[in-house]
Amino acid sequence: METKIIELYTDADMERMGRHVRLWRRILLAVAAVALGICIALAACTDTLNAPRMELATVAVSTVAGWFVIYKWVFTLSPVRRELAHAQMLRSEERETVAGAVRLTDEQFKIRKSVPVRRVIVSHGEDESRLLVCGSRAAALEKLDQAVLYVCHGYVAAYEVTV
């Protein structure tokens, strides 16, 4: 029998999230730069005759590009960026251990400017610890019964399994 610590965020996960954040940051910057370039070109090509059409086209390009950037920033980039920051915190800061019967509840909520989380309750004797786990990693705790959890600021960072 051997105990093994399973990290909720592995090096590969960190690398994958880092790549995702870098890629989308570049894509959004490129879209914004190209849209700005098109708008400047349209403004530069404006004359007395085409001014209303050029203004309309410029506002349209700027608006659509802005909407794309806002959408992707809010729903594609930011969630991964927040999860990456959360994972970096879990991996770099001091941990404590909590041992007992692990129960993953259905209670889930989103912490403002952070990740969506689920409530985990660890019972040890008559006491219980109320912890949180990042929503995207909660499934890993579902099958645990008695376990030792590694906790950082109330968030589950890793758990021990006996192999």
Binding site: A43, T48, L49, V59, W67, V74, F75
Partner: protein, 164 residues
Amino acid sequence: MKVLKNILSQLHSFVLWLLASAVFWGWIFTLVTDTSPAKKVTIYCDVPAVQDRLLAAELEKTMPEGLRMIQVHAFNYVMLDTASFDRGDIFIVPASEDTDLLMDLIPLSEGGPTKAYDAASGKGAATGYIQYTDEDYYIYLGSGSAHLDDGAAFAVAQELLELP
């Protein structure tokens, strides 16, 4: 469905961006399509309708050196007190025009006002762009024009008179 839900949750951001974009580029285009009175000649026409952009673009083809643009406006009497109207360079007004306004206008030649449109013959200046009514029209220079000394207002007025 998820995309629609996401969009609705950020609707305020999208609307705000649309407004910001329209205001910002509107301001930029105001800067691009306007300039100081010293670099433009402004024509006010007291007529029912004028193809302002087409006429301005046509006149810009032969505008005097030093000018950046020509602006054409159909005017109404609400404009009479505005500063930009006071600085207008060329005015096309009907024969029945209010004499108070005419006192601020300068005829093109010392011999009296120059006709821009002759109702009897139906011939006049830029009739392809300006819709005249059934009366004579005269062309004047504005007394507040920044282009009286350099002759640009006069040159553009002459060009306007020759336009079909």
